[in-house]
């Protein structure tokens, strides 16, 4: 319809819409007038009045039907028809409560899963930081080095950025830090942020008690031991003590004065975590490894954000920031060569869980869409079966003058009722599940996570959209079937023979094949993720995990200076080595896979020529003697560090295999020189590669330096033991107290626990995808069961005949099951083809598993076939019990 015609048709349309009764009246009057005129005409031609009336009515036809056809021709009768359809639809649903409940349950699961996943996703995308003002103008800032690797900023770099970025309203620092929190005599791990003094002011977040930080409190070395605690911590740990301000709390064993309590609902600025406390940047050394970094331009640990001025575009700011970075490169070539600074949208923040969770969520969005489709197919199938039952009713309605359009409207209304109820149920489900991801992640990682799912306008809008699509799908499927209806239909008796006859069953069979296909894809996906998780948790990270415990000793807080700390460390190692059950013990600055990051250093190697813009920089760890043996990292050549590798002897390093390959071309580097941390050191050993920061990482260059030659006062203590964790802990504590009664131990865990915490995102992905995969399998089984039951019920005559002709129960059982399995096989073939193409999308979530892993496909095949067989068993058993005599008599 073109615009002109649409405009012309508007007045009559509006009239029928706003004055339906008047229009209806006029139509009736018009028809009555026609009739009377015809009667007068007939009388004029000499008919008797009775005959004239009869003849006129005959020639006009059935008035009620004409009226309905006129109404249909006018269209626009939604207002009149809808309440009627709605009323009728509800009556239909009440008439078959079992069907209605099943259909609504299917839709609830499908729509609820979608709403829940969308609400989580939306939490990350649109409102990652509750209570923070103007998030739309906040961007994450990080450094980049050639090769697109992302690095953090140093405090001096951040300062220069903040001072020179005139297009930014302000910028602030919020670096995540772990800490042990001492309550009474036990310690627990908690997550906090190291922030710049302007943090709370810039965010527009005002503490409910006390104050935020003031300018200048982020300067100096451990100069301001003050802390703002979260509302949660205040409520749970301090029982909402209103006198809390000014009290002391030990964090990493350093007493901090509590100066404020953050408002309720503020979780900090780290996607995926609930931050429990905030300390100023000046306390960096207490919470980080690698010493005092505030004056070191080469120490990159700053996670920072900028808020753009209103009306300024991201591109403009990026340009200005790039210019600042370029100036830093010229001014400080030693530390900044080749480095630039980039902006990231909050949901792409490179240094929090946003980047790591999004791929999982993308997969989940696809998965829940599949579940929804399967649910729709199921409900469509149920409706289809019912439309067979209702074909009598439909035919009668057609016969008494309903147009097919009107029937379609009725079916769509019934679909709408189902999907609206399903959506309502889905909302409830999403509401109950909103904390699900948080709970799963928290259990896995041992720390408080925060991933809010909230049912807000966007989730509602999305669900309403889904509801409409679902209505169309499930309303149109039975409507397809009414095409076959003709008015004479109800008079003919139906002879059912569905097991053999394929004519009208194709839609239902198609739907079952479709369901099996989708469930198979999900099964394959879930199995791949499971396999991947299994491998990630069982593959060696390059060090042993089960027999190694990690803890720490609170030396800094107890006032140990460097010489005293050195003596203590040596004595403790000596004492521990003498204990039965402890094979070896060693200190190391950083524990692999933990949240404390490694330090990195620019390096130079004789004979290695870096490309013009490359500044080779490699991460390292400071470790004590016997560290490699303690963790079980294989030494490939050369020697471990010894106690004699200290501040008085020439610097030495141990490098890993990847580093040898990259910088020495694979040749044995023993005895060669490495420029590191501003001096030459000699390579004394080569070790195998291991995992350093995450289980999923690819091998990267890495080296070790002796702890004594790059000292940190409070390294982690690694212990290889044959005893249980508890008795080891007790033994270590005894020895520590033998040396100094005032010292305390930090949280003691095994390296396996460390690995588990590091792989918790994968665990969450597996849990969710397997749950949804199981759900999909169940729905598909219900669908298959429904279709087979219906087929059997419809073909009792045929089955009875077969039995009468000599088929026995086993034959019939086989007949039904084999038909069910044929449908399943069809679905599996399509599913396998689709899965081969789709599982590649899982690529980044998979670890050491090919997306086309034959074992996984075989497993999925077995599960699908078994489930399908079980789904067919019941109908098949019923078929085999057919009583031929009774069936043939009926």
């Amino acid at each position: 319809m073109d615009i002109e015609q649409w405009l012309h048709s508007l007045p009559p349309r509006l009239r029928s819409f706003f004055h339906p009764n008047q229009v209806d009246q006029e139509m009736k009057e018009e028809l009555r007038e026609h009739l009377e005129q015809q009667i007068r005409e007939n009388i004029a031609q000499g008919m008797s009045p009775e005959r004239a009336r009869y003849s006129a009515m005959r020639s006009l036809g059935w008035i009620t039907q004409i009226e309905q056809q006129c109404r249909d021709a006018r269209g626009g009768s939604v207002l009149r028809d809808f309440p009627q359809d709605l009323h009728y639809g509800f009556r239909q649903l009440r008439r078959s409560p079992g069907f209605s409940a099943l259909a609504i349950l299917c839709l609830t699961l499908g729509i609820g899963a979608n709403a829940a996943v969308f609400s989580w996703l939306e939490g990350i995308l649109f409102r990652p930081y509750p209570l923070v003002a103007h998030q739309e103008r906040l961007f994450a800032v990080a450094g980049t080095v050639p090769g697109k690797r992302i690095d953090l900023l140093s405090w001096p770099d951040f300062h220069d950025l903040r001072r020179n970025c005139t297009l930014c309203e302000d910028s602030f620092v919020s670096t995540i830090a772990g800490s042990t929190l001492n309550i009474g005599d036990h310690a627990e791990v908690t997550t906090g942020s190291i922030v710049s003094a302007n943090y709370f002011d810039t965010l527009g977040v005002h503490p409910t008690l006390g104050r935020g930080f003031e300018a200048g409190e982020d300067a100096g070395n451990d100069a301001h031991p003050i802390v703002v605690i979260s509302y949660q911590m205040w409520r749970n740990r301090f029982r909402s003590d209103r006198e809390i301000i000014g009290k002391a709390q030990r964090l990493n064993n350093v007493p901090h004065t509590i100066i404020g309590v953050a408002p309720e609902g503020f979780y900090g600025t780290f996607v995926g975590r609930a931050i429990q406390f905030w300390v100023p940047v000046s306390m960096q050394e207490t919470f980080g490894s690698g010493g005092y970094k505030l004056e070191d331009r080469g120490a990159r640990w700053i996670e920072s954000y900028v808020r753009l001025k209103p009306g300024v575009s991201r591109a403009q700011v990026q340009q200005q920031i790039s210019a600042i970075a370029a100036r830093l490169q010229t001014s400080y070539p030693a530390t900044n060569r080749g480095r630039s600074i980039g902006l990231w949208a909050l949901w792409q923040t490179p240094f929090n869980h946003a980047g790591e969770l999004l791929p999982s969520f993308e997969v989940m969005v696809a998965v829940v869409a599949f579940v929804l489709l399967i649910a729709c197919a199921n409900v469509g199938n149920l409706l289809l079966v019912r439309s067979f039952v209702r074909r009598h009713e439909m035919s009668v309605r057609l016969a008494i003058g309903a147009s097919r359009g009107r029937l379609l409207k009725q079916l769509l209304t019934e679909g709408l009722i189902l999907s609206a109820l399903g959506t309502a149920g889905g909302f409830l489900m999403a509401y109950w599940c909103r904390q699900l991801v948080t709970m799963l992640l928290s259990v896995g990682s041992g720390t408080a996570m925060y991933l809010p799912g909230a049912i807000d306008g966007r989730v509602m809008a999305m669900s309403a959209g889904i509801c409409l699509v679902v209505t169309l799908i499930i309303g149109l499927v039975p409507a397809l079937q009414t095409r076959h209806l003709d008015v004479a239909g109800p008079l003919k008796t139906e002879s059912g023979g569905v097991v053999g006859v394929r004519s009208r069953g194709w839609i239902r069979s198609g739907l079952v094949i479709f369901q099996v296909c989708l469930s198979f894809i999900l099964l394959v996906g879930a199995a791949l993720l499971l396999e991947s998780l299994y491998r990630i948790r069982t593959t060696s990270p390059g060090f042993s995990t089960t027999r190694v415990a990690v803890t720490g000793v609170s030396l800094v807080v107890s006032g140990y200076d460097v010489p005293r700390a050195k003596t203590f460390q040596n004595e403790l190692i000596d004492r521990l080595s003498r204990l039965p059950g402890i094979e070896s013990a060693a200190f190391a600055a950083v524990t692999p896979l933990g949240y404390a990051g490694y330090s990195s250093s620019p390096i130079a190697v004789d004979g290695y020529q870096p490309s013009p813009n490359e500044q080779p920089e490699v991460e390292y760890n400071q470790v004590g003697p016997r560290y490699l043996a303690t963790l079980g990292i294989p030494l490939l050549s050369g020697r471990e560090f010894a106690r004699s590798d200290d501040e008085n002897t020439p610097p030495v390093v141990i490098v890993n295999r990847t580093m040898v390959a990259r910088y020495w071309g694979g040749q044995d580097p023993l005895g060669r020189r490495l420029w590191v941390k501003g001096r030459w050191a000699r390579v004394v050993g080569v070790v195998a590669d291991s995992k350093y920061e995450s289980m999923g990482e690819t091998p990267k260059p890495f080296f070790y330096v002796p702890l004594r030659q790059d000292f940190v006062r409070e390294p982690d203590l690694n212990i290889r033991t044959t005893q249980s964790l508890q008795s080891t802990l007790a033994a270590v504590l005894r020895e520590v107290h033998a040396l100094d009664q005032n010292l305390a131990l930090y949280e003691t865990i095994t390296l396996q626990e460390q690995v588990n915490r590091a792989t918790s995102p994968q665990l969450v992905a597996v849990t969710l995808v397997s749950t949804l995969g199981g759900l999909a399998l169940l729905l598909a089984a219900v669908g298959l069961y429904g279709v087979m039951s219906y087929s059997v019920a419809q073909s009792t005559r045929e089955l009875g005949l077969r039995m009468a002709l000599g088929a026995d129960a086993a034959n019939l059982l086989q007949l039904v099951i084999s038909r069910g399995l044929r449908l399943t096989a069809g679905g599996i073939v399509f599913g396998a083809v689709a899965a081969l193409a789709l599982t590649r999308l899982l690529g980044h979530l998979l670890y050491n598993v090919s997306p086309h892993d034959p074992v996984v496909f075989g497993l999925a095949l077995a599960v699908m076939t078994t489930t399908a067989t079980f789904a067919c068993l019941m109908p098949a058993w019923r078929a085999s019990r057919t009583n031929p005599a009774r069936v043939l008599r009926d």
């Binding site: 349309r13 009057e29 018009e30 006129c70």
Partner: protein, 111 residues
């Protein structure tokens, strides 16, 4: 039972438009005129006329207004709109083209 099966789809619309192009008429008069011109060949039942009229009105091709007929009874009269006469031209041209083509084929002598 509704539309005569052998009436080409859309032809009824064209006929109604043509009849109304001559003068405004009420439904009964249109039905009489239809029978008259087509000498009952088309066999349009009165029952299918009214849905067609309502459809045309809704498309904006014809307009309805109530006025008194000869014997002072209120009747609904239909008249052609400018849009309707454009549509009539279009359909007439189309009809001429199609019927010329068809009669050309029908009149082919068998070889």
């Amino acid at each position: 039972m509704s539309k005569p099966a052998d009436l080409v789809q859309g032809t009824l619309d064209m006929l109604i438009l043509k009849i109304l192009a001559l003068e405004p008429l009420n439904g009964w008069a249109i039905s009489q005129r239809l029978k008259q011109i087509s000498s009952d060949v088309l066999g349009v039942s009165d029952g299918s006329l009214y849905p067609a009229l309502h459809k045309l009105e809704h498309r904006g091709w014809i307009r309805a207004h109530w006025k008194s007929s000869e014997n002072n009874r209120r009747a609904k009269f239909y008249s052609l709109t400018p849009l309707g006469s454009k549509q009539l031209e279009k359909e007439t041209a189309n009809w001429n083209r199609v019927s010329a083509a068809i009669s050309g084929i029908v009149q082919l002598k068998e070889a």
